[in-house]
Amino acid sequence: MVASTKTISQIQELEEDKYKYGFTTNLESETSPKGLSEETVRFISAKKDEPEWLLDWRLRAYRHWLTMSEPEWSKVSFEPIDYQDSYYYSAPKTVKDGPKSLDEVDPELIETYEKLGIPLKEQEVLAGVAVDAVFDSVSVATTFKSKLEEVGVIFCPLSEALKKCPDLVKKYLGSVVPYTDNKHATLNSAVFTEGSFVYIPPGIRCPMELSTYFRINAENTGQFERTLIIADRDSYVSYLEGCTAPMRDENQLHAAVVELVALDNAEIKYSTVQNWYPGDDSGNGGIYNFVTKRGACRGHNSKISWTQVETGSAITWKYPSCILQGDNSVGEFYSIAITNNFQQADTGTKMIHLGKNTTSKIISKGISAGRAEQTYRGLVRMSPKAKHARNFTQCDSLLIGDQCGAHTVPYIESKNKTAIVEHEATTSTISEDQLFYLRQRGIAVEDAVALVVNGFCREVLQQLPMEFAVEAQKLVGISLEGSVG
């Protein structure tokens, strides 16, 4: 079936006002000098009042970065990034010393987050969700801190963690994603400005969902946050990350790093609803989302589960991965990626099986519409020691319209005869029959498409924490508005 021209034009009409997060907030900012140099790195480190070892680490990363070339293997294309034409640190002036409590937060900031649907005042906060809000380069508020502290959970900006529990940060920072990993991660290591730190002590089931909202506001600013989550023995945490940015004509770089460590019997569930500004419908502007996310299942019976709903960004380049070291550890990756207009996404996962009886599951649902290009890229590796390891991968792509592309590039490497790897992939379109059936029953074409696409994504949507599943479901519909036939 080919998307009918009528519905394509319907979509385009809707396109204009669909990115409702595209406003900017007028705040005075303090920024680093433009461009990237050792000075920039020292400036950021000094602003954050960091210990010597961290500055050294940043500088090592920066020097290594100078020797690296852009990763070229992915199926995304863009003009070379001018790293000197960007600011690497931007902080709203009023919070430069960090707010002691919400009362000290600039009311305009609180308003911004309210517009985003993220109330920071605790009494209004979604029940059972603690939020860390990051605005450009700094954290502006973390809610429910005291309640978490009661059970020993540390949830705070990374810069604060450096003061609170420097040993934990030093031990784990860069232990999953080394600063040499890839050009984007290396850049992040040199210039990261903020991010969330989570530590769950042994035996603790984190009493609420933890959540971070990232917002790029300032112009010409890259955002380089770094998240570190450690789940100690027998602990559990569910973490959700959301992101938005204003509509701007130029491209902004977001090169984040997320590191997860799960020790014996620990479980980390990490969910992302990524809705960075995708650019306008002719492909101008939008965020370059070049993110390195990796989790290490270090302990026996540990589990790391990634769920992502990717609807935003001009270009997405991310592969949330699991290193399954501990025996019986489990890795999961559930993904919905929607690209429309001129968006490009090259996303997937890596499951590296090292321990015995390790299992992994990959469910990827890609939807491509407009003139978008989308690639699933995944690696499943069974090492010689991964006895009786198992992987199951299901990778489905849905194409809407005849101008877009959907690609599937799995790498499967098995060096163990007792390991079982199963991979399946399909590519298809929404059938005319399905749409007709729904429309005949009185459902408008847009709703019918959203319905079919939501059905297509069901397995992944089910993985999201309840509070966000509804939001994600709506997002799926909005992202595809008008794209359909």
Binding site: M1, V2, A3, W73, M382, P384, S397, L399, I400, G401, D402, Q403, C404, G405, A406, H407, T408, V409, P410, Y411, I412, E413, S414, K415, N416, K417, T418, A419, I420, V421, E422, H423, E424, A425, T426, T427, S428, T429
Partner: protein
């Protein structure tokens, strides 16, 4: 700028890339083509594992062997030694190449109808230079693959099959390449052409083998296939080579509307083999069935790399590859299905399954879908695993000894690929080769051969 590294240059120097007396040496267009390819190859060099398409296969064994090109002093074989795949030794049209050189003392044109040409490349270049110019390099060279460039520069042998419009060749045509009949490490570069004009039909069976499992040789082969409208080619390739042999083959086919290309590649031996198959479906109703089996042991390495390009609407393709790896052997499967813009109603399916029999074996698979049209049905699947223990117990509990039960399960596993072979006699011939690969110590019933 010459980017070629030392190892590539050493490899080339041994080969004497500028040697005189190659087929068609008096044809200016061919010399120009060779020169161009030589320049390109020197620029690119031998593929390395840094290239995406060669991520899992190293050509190191090639650099170390010190191959030189073959000459008259390298040995010949007698007709009794020729190992045919098809039993009727004197009844099918057959070409036999020994050490890359056509052994013309054997009968060739058994019962080919008028309008069908089957001959050595150099004879065709002499007798039909105008026709050859229209075909050589037209399908294969556009893709800039380094090993194709090498072959174009070096082509020193090969077969040409041309079937005129509407002609049907009933008997399979057998081409036998026997390598390693010499004490030297030799290299040869067959360039084959298969051209089926509109409505023509033929079956080509290639047997790449050796005598007594010995000999160090490199075969760098390119086969260009052009299939006219509604033509039908069945193309079988059995590769049962010596433990030191290196086989680097590239098959490139252009398939017109309503034409059908069926290929099956069975790899059961060789130090290193790479079978590249690239099919372009260029007319509505065109079909490609590209399947194969790979059975490896020792330190053998087999790489099947396929690309099916759906260029226009209403084309279809099917791929089924199944393999069994023992000892320290390794196999690679890279399969791409590309659906071009506007190639609506494409139907493309691919499957690759591998059994690992030993903990030292390794399988790397990269099935790829690259899709630019929306009204398509495409899928791929890939699995690796070991013999199903419950099936093994079931067979043993019925009294079948373990080694034999394992063989049965290997055969059972491979059956799905054999089902893709449309011709019964070929299915039988290929099943037989599989039986010979299996550990010989145990009893095998003739029943299997019958089915």
């Amino acid at each position: 700028m010459i980017r070629t590294d030392d190892s590539s240059l050493n490899f080339l120097q041994n080969l004497n890339i500028d040697r005189p007396g190659l087929p068609g040496a008096s044809l200016p267009w061919l010399n120009a083509l060779r020169q161009n390819s030589k320049d390109l190859f020197i620029d690119i060099g031998l593929p390395t594992q840094k290239m995406e398409g060669w991520k899992y296969t190293s050509l190191k064994p090639l650099e170390d062997a010190g191959f030189r090109t073959t000459n008259e002093d390298d040995g010949l074989v007698s007709i009794e030694q020729v190992p045919p795949l098809l039993p009727e030794l004197d009844e099918v049209p057959r070409l036999v190449f020994v050490n890359g050189r056509l052994q013309s003392s054997f009968p060739t044109q058994n019962g080919l109808p008028d309008g069908v040409y089957l001959d050595h490349l150099s004879n065709i270049l002499n007798e039909m230079p105008g026709w050859a110019e229209k075909h050589i390099g037209k399908v294969a060279d556009a893709n800039g693959l380094p090993l194709v460039q090498l072959n174009t520069a070096m082509m020193d042998t090969g077969y040409v099959l041309r079937v005129g419009s509407g002609l049907v060749v009933e008997k399979p045509i057998e081409i036998i390449f026997i390598g390693g009949v010499t004490d030297n490490s030799i290299a040869y570069f067959p360039r084959n052409l298969i051209v089926l004009e509109d409505g023509a039909k033929a079956t080509v069976v290639e047997h790449h083998t050796c005598i007594g499992s010995v000999g160090s040789y490199l075969s760098n082969m390119v086969t260009e296939i052009t299939l006219g409208a509604s033509s039908n080619l069945s193309h079988y390739k059995v590769q049962a080579e010596s433990k030191d042999a290196i086989h680097l083959g590239s098959v490139q086919a252009l398939v017109a509307s309503d034409a059908k290309y069926d290929s099956f590649t069975l790899s059961i031996g060789g130090r290193l083999s790479r079978n590249e198959i690239l099919v372009q479906l260029n007319g509505s109703g065109a079909y490609a069935g590209v399947s194969g089996g790979y059975l490896m042991r020792g330190n053998e390495h087999c790489d099947n790399t396929t690309t099916i390009e759906h260029l226009v609407p209403d084309t279809s393709s099917r791929e089924v590859f199944k393999g069994v790896l023992d000892d320290q052997s390794r196999a690679v499967f890279q399969g791409r299905i590309v659906v071009h813009k506007d190639a609506q109603r494409t139907d493309g399916h691919q499957l690759c399954k591998t059994l690992l029999l030993s903990s030292g074996a390794e399988m790397d698979a990269k099935p790829e879908l690259e899709i630019f049209a929306d009204d398509v049905k495409c899928s791929h699947g890939a699995t690796t695993g070991q013999i199903d223990e419950s099936a093994l117990f079931y067979l043993r509990s019925r009294g079948i000894p373990e080694a034999h039960a394992r063989n049965l399960l290997v055969q059972s596993f491979l059956a799905e690929a054999l089902e893709e072979i449309p011709q019964e006699d070929m299915k039988k011939a290929i099943s037989n080769k599989i039986l010979h690969w299996l550990p010989a110590s145990c009893y095998l019933s003739e029943e299997w051969r019958e089915t």
